[in-house]
């Protein structure tokens, strides 16, 4: 038990720190590239959920399984009995190709940090979350050339990077209403830190290397609500049926665009503002989102879920980058999956000490480029490793097919490895309360 606690703490903290640095610093020597499509707009929309839910192809809208906290539905927070802390990281390795090129992108980044406190156990829960809403994590080094005289060309490389996105810091409450229902409300501060950079490298005397950055930043308030309905012993003595839904209201970030470069001025390197020295400001309107799911657990040993999401990305507006608006389209995602929990049988064998998950999901994508939707199909599976208390380590493996090579677009074959920890009562509940 002691070993479990130590390993979980080290992995959670260490993984969080390293993943954060790799994903968000954008350091050219360390950062790995993610999806090529994440370079568009404000990044790729993310599903912030544990590996246990990812491995079922769902985001966790229902209360069919009480093991994990979920950021997806504020209504779930009312029913927690334990203080919980959850975080995770994900490694993706994508084989990318279009009609003319192919390659591999590797990306490691943290997902979310979620703390859940039972203000009144089983009745009122307080949630504090920090998580990304969208994420750009693209990097490529492109070889280019230009003609400086009628007979001479200059070769150079351009390292193009796009890192960051929109994040939320959220504090919310869930309330139990009656025996079967709960609602939740979660206001948040949505803040944007997105950096698009280029670094031109000339391997020729007389041409200095050039770097430039476009930084987008801004913040606003956002709101979302959720509900759950949970019914035990509906069709049999041990079964459970649960429904849940959530709504993210659209919000508008008044963002500032800073276009800067490092130049040698009067013998010293200094950061200078381009765009005539003026920062641009403009509104970025994020889409309305809604999600609904149902779950059914025939017994304590298994549960199944079906969940669907819509995001109104066709309503996305970006006054600082109008061209991105043209390729946005409404996103629809549906997932179905289930879990099997042999460890609840108290059989003392190795394989019965885990929980097993599998699922399938389809994502229509939020991009439609050259009349082609950038869709993704995910095949998901995973295992969960329980402790003697209710804490879990969840591991997920996903295989996804995204995009198409039609129209010289990119098709990505993605292997995603997820890791999340859910620390329940490990540090937050005194033994006398158990």
């Amino acid at each position: 038990m002691k070993r479990f606690k130590i390993i979980m703490c080290v992995l959670a903290v260490g993984g969080g720190i390293s993943g954060q640095s790799l994903a968000q610093t954008g350091n050219s020597t360390e950062a790995r590239g993610g999806s090529v499509y994440s370079s568009i707009g404000v990044g790729f929309p993310l599903d912030n959920t544990s590996s246990g839910l990812l491995s079922q192809g769902i985001i966790g809208l229902t209360n069919v399984n009480r093991e994990t906290s979920s950021l997806a539905n504020p209504g779930l927070w009312a029913e927690t009995f334990y203080t919980q802390a959850a975080t995770g990281l994900q490694l993706t390795r994508s084989s990318v190709e279009n009609l003319t090129s192919s390659g591999t992108n590797v990306n490691l980044e943290t997902g979310y940090l979620h703390l859940l406190f039972p203000i009144k156990p089983g009745k009122i829960g307080l949630s504090i979350g920090l998580y990304p809403v969208t994420r750009a994590n693209y990097r490529s080094v492109n070889s280019n050339q230009f003609q400086n005289t009628p007979t001479n060309t200059i070769d150079y490389t351009n390292e193009v990077q796009s890192f960051g996105g929109i994040n939320k810091f959220e504090v919310g409450l869930g309330f139990k209403i009656g025996k079967n229902f709960a609602i939740g409300y979660a206001p948040s501060v949505a803040f944007m830190t997105l950096k698009n950079s280029e670094e031109l490298n000339f391997n020729i005397l007389g041409y200095q290397d050039h770097s430039q950055e476009t930084n987008y930043s801004g913040a606003t308030f956002a709101h979302r609500v959720g509900f759950t309905g949970t019914f035990n012993s509906l069709f049999s003595e041990d079964d459970r049926f649960s429904i849940g839904g959530s709504v993210n209201l659209p919000y508008t970030i008044n963002a500032t665009k800073q276009f800067t470069s490092i130049k040698v001025v009067e013998g010293f390197e200094q950061e200078v503002k381009l765009n005539a020295g003026q920062d641009e400001t403009g509104d970025i309107k994020m889409p309305f989102e809604a999600a609904f799911g149902i779950g059914y657990a025939p017994s304590i040993l298994s549960n199944f879920s079906l969940e669907a999401q819509i995001q109104n990305w066709s309503g996305f507006e970006n006054e600082l980058n109008r061209s991105a608006e043209e390729v946005m389209s409404d996103r629809f995602k549906i997932g179905v999956g289930g879990q099997y929990h042999p460890y609840r049988r108290n059989i003392n064998t190795f394989l019965s000490g885990f929980k097993y998950s599998a699922g399938l999901s389809y994502d229509s994508g939020h991009l439609s480029i050259a009349d082609e939707d950038i869709q993704t199909v995910w095949f998901n599976t995973g295992i969960g490793i329980p402790s003697k208390v209710a804490s879990f380590i969840d591991l997920s493996i996903q295989y996804g097919l995204r995009g198409t090579t039609v129209g010289d677009l990119f098709e990505e074959r993605i292997w995603a490895f997820g890791f999340s920890v859910n620390l329940t009562e490990l540090m937050f509940v005194r033994p006398k309360l158990r």
């Binding site: 090129s101 992108n105 490691l108 492109n142 031109l200 200078v272 591991l395």
Partner: protein, 408 residues
């Protein structure tokens, strides 16, 4: 409802997970996506220069490594007349006083690799006394220095002379200095007064090496390695005296440079003063990776204007110096050049990215920059480039390598 959870061995799984992550993250990141992601491109913008005001200055001509001596009529850049000035030192060696019959031998050193003019003729150079006080550290090209004969009248009496043919293959020539200059010099040399140096500096004006009409070339003296050999004929002792001071005087007249061309000389007559502000104000984009000033040397005219036996000292390179300057003659002559051009495909190109950066983002006063033919330690040279009437390739211009902003 839910039963007690049971612990399982997880050490191996955790270890496997960490190893898996480490192995996969060691892969090199991808480079796929070129042409799809927004990316800036380089577009070259041309700013034509329509004004290059001509200026001139009075350069320092003393104490340079080389002192031009001779005459040559360059059909392109004009008639050049130059004579050298020098004054041997009177540092007294341990040979004691010199008797009046001692010999004074001038051992002159020349750069035999560089000749401006006609190498195929010899010609005579003569040495005369000088009638005006001058100092190598202060003399300028406009200073009028009179060359005297022994009686103080026009050039008649020769202190010494040599022929171009007498210069040996190592660049040295030796010949005797005679006349009243020698006796005056020995008198200064033998003077034991404490003020002998001062007296010599102010009362002896030195000697001039003047070309005869048959020279048809300019050659370059290295006074710093030339010596005055003093031989005591009584004791047979010899002492070698360095040069205390030296300089040259030059006149350039005439010349027929093609109309529209702009000619620069490394005597800074002329040089160009450019007001950088109106050029920089034409920038349409302040995001650029390079800016270059482009001049087109008129190599056709330069190469076709001399006959087979004639040659020029290497055409001096163009240089750019930042202004404004309180002493332009000194700054162009002795201060480090700010920008040196490079020749690329026959065009002179200066990287002036720093100037634009300073103008746009800095606080330096760059309203005035100077374009000149680089001084070359006394070598005389000219260079000419195409002017405002040339075609787009040849006209003076500034090229800006703009980064065309990505489609954001």
């Amino acid at each position: 409802m839910f039963k007690k959870i049971q612990a399982v061995p997880i050490g191996q799984l955790i270890f496997s997970l960490v190893v898996l992550f480490a192995l996969v993250t060691c892969e090199e990141s991808g480079t796929v996506g070129a042409g799809f992601v927004n990316e800036s491109g380089i577009v070259i913008e041309t700013i034509l220069i329509d004004e290059l005001p001509v200026s001139s200055t009075d350069p320092f001509t003393g104490k340079l490594t080389y002192s031009p001596i001779g005459s040559f009529n360059d059909p392109l850049f004009g008639n050049i007349e130059a004579f050298g000035l020098f004054k041997p030192s009177i540092i007294k060696a341990n040979i004691g006083d010199l008797p009046t019959d001692s010999e004074a031998i001038l051992r002159l050193n020349f750069d035999i690799d560089n000749v401006y003019g006609n190498r195929s003729v010899n010609g005579t150079f003569k040495v005369f006394r000088v009638g005006d006080l001058w100092r190598g550290s202060a003399i300028k090209m406009s200073d009028e220095i009179e060359v005297l004969d022994a009686s103080g009248g026009p050039i008649q009496n020769v202190v010494g002379q040599f022929s171009y043919a007498d210069i040996d293959t190592t660049g040295f020539v030796e010949f005797n200095l005679e006349g009243n200059w020698k006796s005056d010099f020995i008198e200064f040399y033998n003077n034991d007064d404490l003020n002998r140096d001062s007296l010599y500096r102010f009362e002896d004006y030195g000697l001039a090496i003047v070309p005869e009409n048959d020279v048809d070339k300019v050659i370059y003296t290295r006074f710093s390695t030339s010596r005055l050999l003093l031989i005591n004929n009584t004791t047979a002792d010899t002492t070698s005296n360095i040069m205390l001071d030296w300089a040259y005087d030059i006149d350039v007249t005439g010349g027929e440079v093609p109309d529209g061309n702009i000619t620069l000389s490394n005597t800074f007559n002329p040089f160009l003063t450019i007001n950088f502000t109106p050029i920089a104000d034409q920038l349409t984009n302040n995001n650029f990776v390079r800016a270059e000033l482009v001049l087109s040397p008129d190599s056709t005219t330069l190469e076709s204007s001399l006959t087979g036996t004639q040659s020029r000292t290497e055409n001096p390179p163009f240089r750019v110096q930042l202004g404004p300057s309180d002493d332009i003659a000194y700054d162009l002559g002795f201060n480090a050049t700010n920008l040196r051009g490079v020749i690329e495909e026959g065009l002179y190109k200066f990287d002036i990215t720093g100037l634009f950066n300073a103008y746009l983002f800095g606080e330096s006063d760059i309203s005035e920059i100077y374009l000149y033919a680089g001084q070359n330690q006394g070598y005389i040279g000219f260079n000419t480039f195409l002017g405002f009437n040339a075609d787009l390739n040849g006209v003076p211009k500034v090229l800006i390598y703009n980064l065309e902003e990505s489609k954001e």
